[in-house]
Structures are given as C-alpha cells and as structure tokens.
C-alpha cells in the first residue's frame, strides 16, 4: 500500500511541477485572510493583510506535533513573484518568508522559514506544489514539500457552493512518515473555505480560511 502511495505522490509531484502554477497566501489589496490548519504535522494559524497586489504581511504561528513538539511564531511576508492570468486559468508563484522564535520546553531559539508556492488552476483542475525550509537552531532544522492535485466534480458559479476533490501528498524527509497522502474534500462559499481529509497515517485534517 505504501508503494502505491509513493507512486501516486511521484505522479502528483510530476504533474504539479510540470505546470505553471499559483496559490493564495495573498488576497486582494485591503483584504485580510485568516487561515488555520490542523493536520498530522500540528496546528497552524496565520493572519495576513494584503497591502499591495504583490505583498501581504502577517503573523504565522505553528504548534508542531510531528515527531517532536515545539512552538514557532513570527511575522511573515508573502510575495507574489509571478502571476499568469489566462483566459481560462491562472498560475502563480509565491514566496512566504518569516522569522521569529521557536520554543521547546525551556529552550528558546531564533527561527526562520522560507517557502515557495506554485499553483495552476482552471475552473475544473487544480495543482500546487510547495517546498518549505524551517530552521530553528537545535529545535528544528528541516525541509518538507507538499503537492495538491484535484478537480471540481461540477463547475460552480460565483454564488454557488464550490466543491473540489483532491489528493494532498506530503514529503517530510526528517519526520517519521516520509510520505503521507491525504484525500481531501475542499468546499468554499464566497469568503469561507473549508478542507477536510483523512491521511494515510490515520490523522484527520481540517483546514479553514476566512477572507474579509
């Protein structure tokens, strides 16, 4: 079964990297986004304010539970590096960089993180790929990558409930489960976004985003 997951991960990764891409750590100028993720790696909260079509400034915090427990928090700058607005699709490349502190028990270290996020979507298809580096002294020093691939079973209009079926693949070389695959149901309506899934290592995933 693990071999199947790995093969699927490779396929997802190939699809994601082969296409021009986009993702959304930025909204519109003047917009604020609150994003919260709960998955097998821990609990993440970020609040970002988009002050320019290419930049959003926010706060990022994570309580990591994957293999070792620690907290990490600090300000984050999200940058739209490149966007392709096509007649029937959109692709983007973003970067997310931040610095702050990490805490594990009484051990407190300076922390920094950097990620790239690339995605491409049409009204039917969605692909994304995100590699991320985290450094927090002797608390944490790791690289991980994540890819999404999926489709909309029906083409919803602006005022409808939008439904997506996706596969998320996570690769954490420094963690217990190097490859984790999660089938995901993504729903969004206007400014509310919800993702639920159940991972191959038997963890429930619930992510939500609100934009205002």
């Amino acid at each position: 079964m693990k071999t199947i997951y790995r093969l699927f991960f490779c396929l997802v990764l190939t699809l994601a990297v082969a296409l021009p891409a986009q993702a959304k750590p930025l909204s519109y100028v003047g917009g604020t986004m609150v994003m919260q993720e709960n998955d097998e790696t821990g609990y993440t909260l970020s609040v970002d304010y988009t002050f320019d079509p290419h930049f959003a400034l926010g706060l990022y915090a994570k309580y990591e539970i994957n293999q070792r427990e620690f907290y990490m928090a600090g300000p984050e700058l999200n940058t739209l590096i490149k966007r392709w607005n096509l007649p029937d699709g959109q692709g983007n490349i973003f970067s997310m960089t931040g610095a702050g502190i990490a805490r594990q028990g009484s051990n407190i270290q300076p922390a920094a993180w950097a990620a790239l996020l690339a995605d491409y979507e049409t009204r039917r298809w969605f692909f994304s790929y995100e590699p991320r580096l985290v450094y927090a002294g002797d608390i944490e020093s790791s690289f991980w990558q994540r890819a999404y691939a999926g489709f909309a079973p029906y083409l919803a209009n602006y005022d409808d409930l939008n439904t997506w079926l996706l596969i998320r693949a996570d690769h954490h070389p420094a963690k217990n489960d190097h490859f984790v695959v999660t089938p995901v149901l993504r729903l969004f309506y206007k400014t509310i976004w919800l993702e639920v899934g159940y991972s191959s290592n038997q963890h429930v995933m619930v992510n939500w985003t609100v934009q205002f």
Partner: protein
Amino acid sequence: MRHIILTVVILAGLSASAPAETITTTVNGMVCAFCATGIEKTFRKQPEVNTVHVDLPKKRVTITTKPGKTLSDAKIKEVVTYSGYTMGKIVREK
C-alpha cells in the same frame, strides 16, 4: 437670485435623473469563486458603483453605476489589477 436657484435645482434634477451606466468587463484569470470575492468587494467600495455581478463561467464582471455616475476605463483597470487580475474588453451600456 431666483434664476440662480432655479438653475441649480434644474441641474441637480438633471443629474439625479441621468441614467445609470452598465459596464461589463471580461477578466482574465478569474476562475476561482473564492478569489473573485476580492474583485466584487473592491468594486463595491467605489462610491460610483451601485451593483456588482460576477459571472464566473463567462469570466465577466458587470457593474451598474449610480444614476449620473460613471467609472473610467482607467479606474476599472486599477480595480481589476488591485484585485489580482488582468482586464479584458470593456462594454458600456446606458
């Protein structure tokens, strides 16, 4: 004095009865409903705008202005760009 007041009243009346304008623009890259909320919210913030309708299948945004008001092409382009998209063709109807 009476003539001045009358002129002001007539001009104000003409302005108020001036027709609203319906402006439709195609928007490249507008494929996601969640992201398109930005374009709707940004247009709604414009004082000249009365209603905004987003048509995702046709990648179109239709704006109705308040009576006697209009939005320039430059302003529409600015709003679309600030929302993260690229503007296509504009069609205006009175």
